[in-house]
Symmetry: D2
Subunit: 317 residues, 4 copies
Amino acid sequence: MNTLGHIFTLTTFGESHGPAIGGVIDGCPSNLKIDFQLIEEELNRRKTAQSATASQRHETDQVEWLSGLLDGVTLGTPIAFIVRNEDCKSKDYELLKDVYRPSHADYAYDQKYGIRDWRGGGRASARTTLPLVVAGAIAKQILQGKGISVSSEVFSMGDAEQARMAGDSVGGVVKGTIKGVPAGLGEPMFGKYSAELAHAMFCLPAVKGFEIGDGFALAEMKGSEANDLFVNKNGRICTATNHSGGIQGGISNGEDITFKVAFKPIPSIAQTQQTVNRAGEKCEIAVGGRHDVCALPRALVLVEAMAALVTVDLIQL
Amino acid sequence: MNTLGHIFTLTTFGESHGPAIGGVIDGCPSNLKIDFQLIEEELNRRKTAQSATASQRHETDQVEWLSGLLDGVTLGTPIAFIVRNEDCKSKDYELLKDVYRPSHADYAYDQKYGIRDWRGGGRASARTTLPLVVAGAIAKQILQGKGISVSSEVFSMGDAEQARMAGDSVGGVVKGTIKGVPAGLGEPMFGKYSAELAHAMFCLPAVKGFEIGDGFALAEMKGSEANDLFVNKNGRICTATNHSGGIQGGISNGEDITFKVAFKPIPSIAQTQQTVNRAGEKCEIAVGGRHDVCALPRALVLVEAMAALVTVDLIQL
Amino acid sequence: MNTLGHIFTLTTFGESHGPAIGGVIDGCPSNLKIDFQLIEEELNRRKTAQSATASQRHETDQVEWLSGLLDGVTLGTPIAFIVRNEDCKSKDYELLKDVYRPSHADYAYDQKYGIRDWRGGGRASARTTLPLVVAGAIAKQILQGKGISVSSEVFSMGDAEQARMAGDSVGGVVKGTIKGVPAGLGEPMFGKYSAELAHAMFCLPAVKGFEIGDGFALAEMKGSEANDLFVNKNGRICTATNHSGGIQGGISNGEDITFKVAFKPIPSIAQTQQTVNRAGEKCEIAVGGRHDVCALPRALVLVEAMAALVTVDLIQL
Amino acid sequence: MNTLGHIFTLTTFGESHGPAIGGVIDGCPSNLKIDFQLIEEELNRRKTAQSATASQRHETDQVEWLSGLLDGVTLGTPIAFIVRNEDCKSKDYELLKDVYRPSHADYAYDQKYGIRDWRGGGRASARTTLPLVVAGAIAKQILQGKGISVSSEVFSMGDAEQARMAGDSVGGVVKGTIKGVPAGLGEPMFGKYSAELAHAMFCLPAVKGFEIGDGFALAEMKGSEANDLFVNKNGRICTATNHSGGIQGGISNGEDITFKVAFKPIPSIAQTQQTVNRAGEKCEIAVGGRHDVCALPRALVLVEAMAALVTVDLIQL
């Protein structure tokens, strides 16, 4: 269950303050000259300590390639890579060892596994999204070669500067677009493009909502408003509008794939909150450590990575 | 890609006007005495021609059990079942054979497969959701035995009667609730409870949005508002609020699982619409046949079925 | 676990004396005109009551196609089919209800499931191989289109006529050959062509051994004897010998794929044997019913079907 | 296709002379205190340069644990580990860069991927079995806790010392035994214990044959000889003989699981052999480098590892 995809697959591993995090990509075509520059750029988009919204953890995030490449060219065999965890201040978390942080996964992990890596959030840390970015960059490169591009933007976001000052955090919505997808991508019944995207986005930390095209707004429209009429534009069948977000019956129709992803506010806040500890005793918590005020705009590259991974996988099916 | 689930799996098959539709359930525990009454009741909730919103297709929907049972008790082997398609008026569709109905899957299927069963929507028809209801009822029965219940309600819906008169259709939002789920269900990284639910719901026809707990509304909150504080209620650790919808870090935390599913309006409307045919020529269409005005409230049982299937599968992992 | 394959998959269901047995093929390419004649011929090769070695159960084995086809052409959607069980003499088995037949799966099933369909062997019956033949015939047809053929022959077999008279049974070895496979088929590390074939063959009832090329005999050779030297035959690289059976490092090398499958004797024999019943009490058994004396030559078509299914699946990966 | 198993899974990666080889274990139960001593012992059984039959490559084979553990205890999250490749003498292979070694995977890889890591056999090297041993040792530890043990022995082997002197190599047969397996393990139809074992063993390099119980010899017996009669031994139902190797109908029956695995001779031999190069030109080859004369006895620990991995996986299903 730590593997994403069917043919082009990504298996990830790692805890926030463990020795390393990483991933194994299987099913990548051979003879692809990896664009390491692109990977680095994507990692920089994700990296912390860049802006007013991001945490103060400093990591070099140097990717070490372990397999699957010969002189930077893919062999068709599994591509394994790791990134060392260097700037671990586990001591920051020692006080939290037995305390359940509100709206974090601490309690759920304890209940599930009976053990939990309490240092920096362990496996539930946002740091574990790093391998997604690496694999996503490779997926983007493959898509580029097919004329497909993935982009995203902040659609809405709370007031981050004000929240930081108040020891609080904010959420936001990311809008994603996939351009150049040919009609016919997606597999009914249970491999629908929309379903695969929804699944992938909900694998990202803090995601609580996902919609395709006009999404929830469609539920308030009439059919006559919502329907995308087919037209012939210079010999190409397309739709006059794109309320459907490029997907009908779970299959791409050749229009832009558009979607939105809702991120809840970062649950770690500096304000004092009531909670309980492992023994069920009441206690207070004011989360120190180094945390983002908002998952956005760092989440942009994550959303794009997931969209790219899903799309590459469906293309190979 | 016509199989849902990992351990408790459902494979479905069938086209709207083909000989039969059906499914194969694999991984069902042995020695379960099937509650055929419950299955029939669930099928009745789905059946057409019951209300102002539903289409006029009349099917007896008699389930024929082919395997996996001995005197109504599960053997642990695959449970196959079919339902014959009887009331097929394929002639209704003959005019549509070469016409792309707006916001339907016709065009996408043609692009994907180069062939399409144009009779009644073929594999993309809502009739193909019937096997989900049968399997969902069995899943519900298993969950019942574990003290878990799944329910749903219409959260919002357009004015169906007005739309019918106007030859139009409406969409709506279904709210679902799963009660009694123990803490610890769901598999990080890519088998999160939320991700599995999102995937399953987007496999239903006409679904365009999904959210867990407060969903998109969370994106507009501050962390201090959105966080669910842990409290000790009579020796049991739980949360004072449930903005998270019972899932944190992708894992259930013991609270009710709550979610919403957005359905677009039924794309088949009686009003005349512009479209193109297979040759790309402009034409007009006014969809006859027998169609719902709204996917709700028939979708309630589908949403519950998917929630039950996902939950049973995660419990067995 | 009742699904075979990765992309071109077959899910089977059914018990020997249940209402029907059948299968669902997913991942079959669209626009294939099914050769029903070939399927019937293959089923006839499998059918009982043909020869001195086979049982006396008479089934018409009429395939009923339920989905995935339009006018006999594949739609790309799941192809479901069933065959009714007609000539069930369950009474023959009533005496065996609580008795564990030697070297049958009765006891193992009881231990696994706590329940067992005792009528005709239930899910463990050789009748459950019928769907393999149907799917295998479709796989063969796809392979034919690519210049690949699958054949088999009886390599060795005990004296069936003598055994029948003695109320006994015999085993045998089937030799299989796949011709026309291009070099490069098979997926290291765990999707090796040889491993997939071995897996598939051991899914057949009564199979106890499998070898590729010279197999066990290779274990007694020296490298200088066993190695297949590469030569250039009219511009085509091939090997001078084929001890490897066309597979090196788990990947096809362009030579004929050759393999052998060992079948144990049919465990149902007319001779009186000692055994125990469900209560662990000593008892005697002389298996009546209608049974083969040897799994061969009926197994030929099964071996070919499995080889074809594996090969089609690997080609689509 | 570089992932083995269904629930307890192992994903491996790495080329012989790449930076590292390694694996990711997913689905391992939490709260297991890893027995690192056992892992080291198992790795020593596999390590080269120990005996007359083994190659002269010297590796420390130090396992580096990257994730999934806290103070040596499993977290329930993926356990990733790597071993660096240190003693790489890639120059030994430079002459072989364009030459197809007889009965090696060189040609097949080139045909499949259009590129090949020629250094030390790349992904097809026996070195890539190292992660199997690590994961197998963990599987063994889990089985130990359930009273299940896996062992193996050399059943037959050519004269290694004589072969070394002659610049030749030999093959052999390994016999494996799994004791303590409860009745009821294995999943019909396509997850039979025998089929899973066969698949796993054929994933090992140089394996060309596999049989369960008496295997190919059963094909020459009569039913009356081959059948394992059930008896009641002190209140426990068991079989008087074990020709079946503990598996009937694909499911364990409580007896010892016994099987044999045939290994072909190591194809790398010092004798001069005819072959062709990439251009199809005739050439000669006398394989230098550091190679085993026989895959046995190093293969013992590999066979046991695969048997343990398959068994742990089936137990968790």
